[in-house]
Amino acid sequence: MSKVKLTIDKQIIEVDSDASVLEAAKELGIDIPTLCYHPDLSLHGACRVCMVEDEESGKLLASCATPVREGMIISTRSMKARRARRRNVELLLANHPNDCLGCDRNNHCELQEITYELGIRSQDVERVSGEKRVHELDTTGPALKRDPNKCILCGRCVRICEEVQGVSALQFTNRGFDSIVVTAFDLPQAEINCANCGQCATVCPVAAITELSEIEKVWAALEDNDKHVIVQTAPSVQATLGEEFGMETGTVVTGKMVAALRRMGFDQVFSTDFAADLTIMEEGNEFLKKLNGEGELPHITSCCPGWVKYAEHNFSDLLPHLSSAKSPMQMFSALGKTYYPEQAGIDPEKIYTVAVMPCTAKKFEKDREEINGSDFKDTDAVLTTREFARMIKEMGIDFKDLPDEEYDELMGESTGAGTIFGTTGGVAEAAVRTVKEELTGEALERLNLGFRGVNHAEVKIGDRLIKVAIANGLGNAEKLLERVRAGECDFDFIEVMACPHGCVGGGGQPRPATNEKKDKRAQGLASIDDSSKIRKSHENPQIVKLYKEFLGEPLGGESHHLLHTKYKARPKN
């Protein structure tokens, strides 16, 4: 790559010739404010907040969309540039509810932050105010809430849904001041082909797309003396929750998280990682059967509810390939209302199950009508990592100073295999570990499938070569599955996760999220696996006990009833 030398704020810098002025400034440690720009998405150039001044011509340039040029002299700090940025943010605010105090994004809002950083005062906005956009909120969910009045039309949601997820559930419509982001034919979110992955919510800079909160429900359950509230935490949350409290990305906070949950009043604190091990037992055995000719290969995972819904809309012909094993969350909840009360001697009717998840699609999954295995609703509430962090703050818990505590017995033990469910490639790796041991007694070396995009590996198990593929991000999944559909590949095991990087990049994870951050989260999670005493699901002593005392055999009658489910084709719309 050829290099270009330019001057920014009187400092000379040499950068790759394909860099933008924004990127060059970043290398110098100059942070130009942006709203529509996102490092992982295509260039949009719409918010016009990143204006800088070309000192030679006096022209204003949008730095995200201006490539560097030899000899350029740029000022990011001139009055003219700063004023231009301010005006554009003022214009956005003039058409914005500005009800920050009661807003879902208060204190976590890119628009609010930029407003503060640019020194904009209410009277500046007042000066250019007039009519405001008025639209109805879409709270049909079941996972996400859209508030078009908060939307600043940055197009990040449109781009991620189209470019990364390949779903294209959201688009711009209308012109000029009436422009708005809508679903196809403005249908309610609940009625479209949306996967509920929440990627749109992770990139939205404001409160225009957020999860439908279940916080109040959970507070009410915790307050209710008749209820016995048990909670499970998904694997990835231990490596992401810390971000909400200003900790380094990728920091593992398992112990503090458990301590926080106890202080919030949960009666038992369990781990979804335990249920992930259980999923491996069921799904691994299912895969073994398929390898032995009972059932169709490739075997495709089904633990990601975003992927499952996407498949139901777009790959209904491949549904028979999907594992019938429920996701760890649902397995856990089914046991939470059967096995757990039996062991603990509690009336199952009194049990309330809460799941702390990295995911918005889990909110949809828990409401699927065919999902329940117990006589009750298996999962009562799903909280995203973000909602959970909010509750910790509301309780006045000083998270960073909490001591490390351990999960409760019975359904709290986990293995490294269960933990890596939280990142792309983890399910495949965990399953293959167990299958290989089961068949050959040999341990599996690391598959090292990486964290981004599509990848594949071959594993020798006995004299058989098992071909494993993974895809994360629905756009990548689509490409891979199209090849499967066309018979162009012969994979045995395919793991799909709807979100880029898997659950560490989930729609319920801390914002803002970039690929760079997600890499660090995934590394954090892998470090737990590396340091785990037990790294194989079938060696989890609580799992061994569970089968012995309650379930019997993997894929047996009780397992089948509690731990497996089915799927249905949905319209493509």
Partner: protein
């Protein structure tokens, strides 16, 4: 051009395609111009029949196919990146440049994109040489230019003049002056986002640079003539209303800023203008021009900025004196009244009032409801005893 001589365009595009090695061409025409489409289709079919278009043209190994893309009429699709997005079947929305079309254009391929008029000039230049072409026009703008002359002018229509012709020649010689012998007030050039020029610029020779230097542009070649009865604030509002609603809504300054400018113009025309409104309009206008993503936003404030520049007194009269000097902004005009003593109750006035503001019984004095009267003045000349006056 498409209706009159589509062959010229086809020839121009073929030459351009041959020069850059393109084998596909598109003509983007608004669907509202069915005649243009029909004639172009016919001309393309004829060219195909003569094997002037198609594969291996005259055994040269050169292939060229021409397609027509009917546009849905969005103004922003005149912007080149939006136009190409529209051809690709996407929402007509501009994208940042670079990459320029010449590098990455339609379907991601290098693309040469020009106006119909530009391509139509190419055959002449190839045939007669650049020197001959440049012998007409000015130094910076060679050749001729077609204008769509309209407004308060006797001869309206399309006129082709050499670059460098003065506004006066176009308006008074070719256009034969103002209708009804009224006084010339202003001319707006360049389409809805062009600027308005007053009388003192009538001797300006028209070319690309001269127009820009006085705050307007060549644009689409539109030329709208206004007479003394036009209110320049209202004119600015009219054009901004158009560009505001045709903004694609992508970038902040154009989407939000033009709306705010329009709101300010509305309140000025409604008699609710405030101190500082003119300055705010100027500030917003300059801001939108210098920070918008595409040509639409970069030019949309022109009608407002140019009328403030040349007709500031009219804005001030609206804001400070609550008066529309041209009598166009009805909320500002004072209602008409009937002198009771003089009125003979003939009812002639009430029959012409377009808004039914006048009532009364025959042979008794009539009255005008000041809240309904729009001060159009239609009643005044009807009164046989001159009992009606304004204010």
């Amino acid at each position: 051009m498409l209706e009159g001589d589509p062959h010229r365009l086809i020839e121009g595009m073929m030459i351009a395609a041959y020069a850059i090695g393109a084998d596909e061409g598109y003509v983007y025409v608004r669907a509202e111009y069915p005649l243009a489409i029909k004639r172009l289709e016919k001309a393309i079919a004829a060219a195909e029949e003569y094997e002037l278009l198609g594969d291996d043209i005259f055994g040269s190994g050169f292939n060229f196919k021409l397609h027509i893309k009917k546009g849905a009429g969005a103004f922003v699709c005149g912007e080149e990146t939006a136009l190409m997005a529209s051809i690709e079947g996407k929402r007509g929305m501009p994208t940042p440049r670079p990459p320029y079309p010449a590098v990455k254009g339609l379907w991601g391929k290098p693309t040469n994109i020009n106006n119909v008029e530009t391509y139509s000039n190419v055959p002449y230049i190839i045939k007669h040489g650049a020197k001959e072409f440049a012998s007409i026009g000015t130094e910076g703008s060679a050749g001729t230019k077609v204008f769509a002359l309209t407004g308060k002018i006797n001869n309206t229509g399309l006129v082709e003049v050499p670059m460098g012709t003065t506004l006066k020649e176009v308006i008074f010689d070719i256009g034969d002056g103002i209708t009804n012998g009224k006084k010339f007030k202003a001319v707006q050039t360049g389409g809805p986002s062009g600027g308005c020029l007053p009388e003192e610029y009538l001797d300006l020779p028209i070319d690309y640079d001269s127009l820009i230097s006085v705050g307007t542009m060549m644009g689409s070649g539109g030329m709208v003539v206004m007479d003394e009865d036009s209110c320049m604030v209202d004119v600015a509002r009219f054009f901004l209303n158009f560009t505001q609603s045709e903004s694609c809504g992508k970038c902040t300054p154009c989407r939000e800023g033009t709306k705010r400018m329009l709101e300010i113009l509305n309140r000025i025309c409604d008699g609710e203008g405030k101190d500082g409104d003119i300055e705010l309009l100027q500030e917003l206008g300059e801001h939108i021009k210098s920070t918008s993503l595409c040509g639409l936003g970069q030019s949309a404030p022109n009608p407002v900025l140019s009328t403030i520049r040349h007709f500031r007194d009219e804005y001030e009269a609206h804001i400070h004196d609550h008066n529309c000097p041209a009598g166009v902004c009805s909320d500002l005009a004072e209602a008409y009244v009937i002198d009771e003593e003089a009125c003979i109750g003939c009812s002639k006035c009430s029959r012409v009032c377009p808004v039914g503001a006048i009532s009364g019984e025959i042979k008794n004095p009539f009255t005008i409801d000041p809240d309904v009267c729009i001060a159009c003045g239609a009643c005044e000349p009807e009164c046989p005893v001159s009992a009606i006056s304004q204010g």
